[in-house]
Symmetry: C2
Subunit: 213 residues, 2 copies
């Protein structure tokens, strides 16, 4: 009688769907890092997720669609690990360290997400034309870095400078991971190299930009 459906709780069916969707995302992430994004078949994903093939198409349009979703999640995660935009502006040095840490913790805790992010980035960089709709997460990512850097620059109105620094940070970090992993360094070595890079960037950039460190 009085067991009215609680509106805060979505129904069983919807929850089941959400769970299945999540299984597909997890499986895709795993397969993308194993056989590569383009080297894998939809059935590899559904097999790994232990769902029927048709189920995939109930949740995603095609492989590009689920990849887009994963790249968005990766960008979200990365951005969430950055200091909030309304955080008190610390020193230049502290802010840079915060931003490096955001990447380092994602690499340490969710290397799978980060590696798919890097794969997608290379896809966009080398042939954005043939893979529509994959670019936005990367733009969001750089913009997020930019907004966190602006407050600690000597001239907060220097938009171009903030963007250049944002690209430089993204480049150093993504580059260190890609190059480090490509010559088969351990994740530990990569994180260690990242710290050296952070120090160099700090010294080199603050001098160039005449920041107060």
């Amino acid at each position: 009688m009085d067991d009215e459906p609680d509106p805060r709780i979505e129904g069983r069916a919807s929850r089941r769907a959400t769970k299945t969707r999540q299984r597909l995302l997890d499986a895709a992430l795993y397969i993308f890092n194993t056989k590569g994004i383009e080297g894998c078949a939809i059935e590899d994903i559904t097999e790994s997720a232990d769902v029927g093939k048709g189920t995939f198409y109930r949740h995603f349009m095609d492989k590009l669609d689920i990849l887009r979703t994963l790249l968005d999640l990766a960008a979200d995660d990365l951005i969430l690990r950055m200091p909030p935009t309304d955080a008190p502006a610390l020193s230049f040095e502290d802010r840079i360290t915060q931003l490096f840490n955001a990447h380092a913790t994602l690499l340490a805790e969710r290397a799978d997400l980060f590696l798919v992010f890097l794969q997608g980035q290379t896809m966009v960089a080398t042939r954005s034309s043939s893979i529509p709709g994959l670019q936005p997460p990367f733009a969001r990512y750089i913009t997020a870095l930019e907004s966190r850097l602006k407050p600690v620059l000597p001239d907060p109105a220097d938009v171009a400078g903030a963007r250049q620094l944002a690209v430089a940070i993204g480049a150093i970090i993504c580059g260190n991971i890609t190059v480090g992993m490509s010559i088969l360094s351990s994740k530990h070595d990569v994180i260690n190299n990242l710290d050296l890079a952070r120090q160099s960037l700090l010294v080199g950039t603050s001098q160039r930009l005449r920041c107060t460190v």
Copy 2:
């Protein structure tokens, strides 16, 4: 009578084969940058090279084989643009600049080669297990950087330091190109960012390593 075959000149047949092979390499390079390495079919390559499909298999085992060849060529080209190992050791600053220039000229003159190199690097970094034999060119590349850095370090016996710096340079450059292109900067902007990165690296690293600049 006396028109003996000149041993310096290989026969017509062999020259024809070499030319066909080169056509296939050129076509593969073009297609890899257009449809992506994994997104392209062998027939895309032979079609673009204007040769029969069977001809491809006369020259290469499979797609991985021709990719390996291209990555080797790219690494060769990059290394050839670096100062020779026996070049007189200049200052730390000059050597770093030489190494950056090696990359910058390859990007300017043979962007296609460089972009395939970056695609391959990401493939190896994110799933080296599933693509056997693609790693060596990248190891050679880092080793080449290393050997050019050792002579200008304060302690030329510091092997680990040379390697770290080599990775750092590779990372900054490859990262700047990948990230730059992924957010759709022009090649010109990328090269400009590279120069800023060079300056920062120079200041930051020479201070950290106590180099004489």
